[in-house]
């Protein structure tokens, strides 16, 4: 069977049994998602790349500690968020409101895609860091509320509140022309 068709748990098992190619398959499967999470939190592609690298190295070293109690992707994306925090701390980063992306092609489609990505990113960067982290963990990383609470050390209710408020603020930022009276 093509390794790409294997599930995450199967690939982990293969890796632990000595099939190092299984790790590569896992890494390639998830690297863009990890990068996305890190970029959405940091707003800096270089930091996001560092965080992605650190996260995957952590997985490489510690995959044996994944017990299957949560989905592998959930476990992995939690590591990604922690790696992102470490990178920001290490580099003394305050949340940066702007980031730069140069469109690589001139077609309208690509420009529109870039504009949309930038809109989402700008809106995210306007959120308080705690809100942004919770929203990204849940809505991009798919990490359950309970695990976000555990990972961030806050009460479950706080996580719910951060995600709910963060989303609403994000939506308003993305739709500036909507009815200003709407709440």
């Amino acid at each position: 069977m093509d390794p790409k068709d294997l599930s995450d748990p199967d690939l982990v098992e293969r890796f632990l049994e000595g099939d190092v190619g299984a790790f590569t398959t896992l890494a390639r499967r998830h690297e863009d998602k990890i990068f996305s999470i890190a970029w959405r939190i940091t707003g800096d592609r270089s930091d996001a790349l560092d965080a992605t690298q650190d996260a995957l190295i952590t997985v490489y070293r510690k995959v044996g500690s994944w017990r299957g109690e949560s989905a592998f992707s959930t476990w992995l994306y939690r590591i990604a968020v922690n790696a992102t925090r470490d990178v920001m701390r290490r580099k003394g980063r305050a949340p940066v409101p702007e980031e730069e992306i140069t469109p690589r092609a001139s077609s309208e489609d690509v420009e529109q895609q870039v504009a949309t990505r930038l809109d989402v990113q700008r809106a995210l960067m306007e959120l308080p860091h705690d809100y942004r982290e919770a929203v990204v963990m849940h809505d991009i990383g798919g990490i359950p509320y309970e695990e976000i609470a555990e990972a961030t050390g806050v009460a479950l209710g706080t996580v719910k509140s951060r995600i709910s408020r963060g989303r609403k603020k994000l939506a308003r930022s993305l739709e500036p022309s909507r009815d200003p009276g709407a709440s």
């Binding site: 000595g18 790790f23 890494a27 990068f35 995957l56 995959v63 989402v120 991009i140 509320y145 994000l170």
Partner: protein
């Protein structure tokens, strides 16, 4: 059952991904009809659900290169893996699959693995010391800027041998040490002309300029032409051009690129291409 606001909010991420059972999905939909707050949340969740931000090819290559080196120094998982061979295999697999053109070989990915021991010297590649010298930089006085060098009549080599030329990094390491992004403006044009002027005839001179421009146009990053050679690659007469470059906005030109165009035709032929990081010694 009437769904409350909090429950709806908690289900929205799964809702926008279409992951809810049909009956629950319907309940959420019904709640959304009457709840402005939840519609706002749904809009945000939907925007984020498709907010995947893929790495650029260069970012991906840098990641794989870094991972290759990092995993070469640590033991994986529960250490049930035969470290040396396993790491080599991991690195090799990481090196595959991010080809930008026909072929990308990232010699830095082989760092620390068993295959470094059989990496041939430039003598093995080019046969004679004279040719070795031709393809290396002439020793510059201490502190003087390293100069780009054209080497004519490089002996036939395969693309894999070309990758080993890249891994020796000899033509580039002085460039990496000496030049930074800040130097590009001052040196790019003079070094392009300098390489072209070393060509034995006008046609090759023009091809060198054209091919350097082709790469510059293709890569919106900071690069400096460092090396050119004529020879055969994979049995075809080719023009080889090497660059020191970086994707970072400041700092040293920490990567190299080698391109080989059959017949020196960079407009219609498919080049052999490879890149990697400068800085690791043999």
């Amino acid at each position: 059952m009437v769904m409350d606001h909090e429950t709806c909010s908690e289900l929205l991420a799964a809702f926008v991904r279409g992951e809810l059972p049909e009956d629950i999905h319907a309940e959420v939909s019904k709640h959304l009809e009457t709840c402005e707050d939840c519609r706002l949340e749904r809009a945000a969740a939907a925007a984020l659900a498709v907010a995947l931000e893929p790495m650029t090819e260069l970012e991906r290559r840098r990641l794989h290169s870094s991972l290759g080196k990092a995993t070469g120094t640590i033991r994986p998982g529960r250490a049930r893996i035969a470290a040396a061979l396993g790491v080599a295999a991991t690195i090799a697999v990481l090196a595959v699959g991010f080809a930008m053109k026909d072929r990308v070989v990232s010699p830095s990915l082989t760092e620390g693995s068993a295959d470094t021991v059989d990496r041939p010297s430039t003598e093995e590649l080019f046969g004679t010391p004279a040719q070795d010298e031709a393809i290396m930089f002439e020793s510059a006085p201490a502190g003087a800027p390293p100069q780009p060098t054209f080497a004519a009549e490089v002996r036939t080599m395969s693309s894999s041998e070309m990758s080993r030329l890249g891994s020796s990094k000899s033509p580039f390491i002085e460039f990496a040490t000496f030049y930074s992004v800040a130097d590009i403006d001052a040196y790019y044009s003079p070094y392009t002309r300098q390489l072209a002027s070393q060509a034995p005839d006008d046609l090759l001179s023009r091809k060198i300029k054209d091919c350097i421009k082709t790469v510059s146009d293709k890569f919106p990053y900071h690069l400096l032409p460092a090396f050119a050679a004529s020879g055969e690659v994979d049995g075809r007469p080719s023009l080889i051009v090497g660059f020191a470059w970086t994707e970072r906005p400041i700092g040293a030109l920490d990567q190299y690129m080698l391109w080989a165009w059959p017949d020196g035709d960079c407009t219609s032929t498919t080049p052999v291409y490879l890149t990697g990081e400068i800085g690791e010694s043999e």
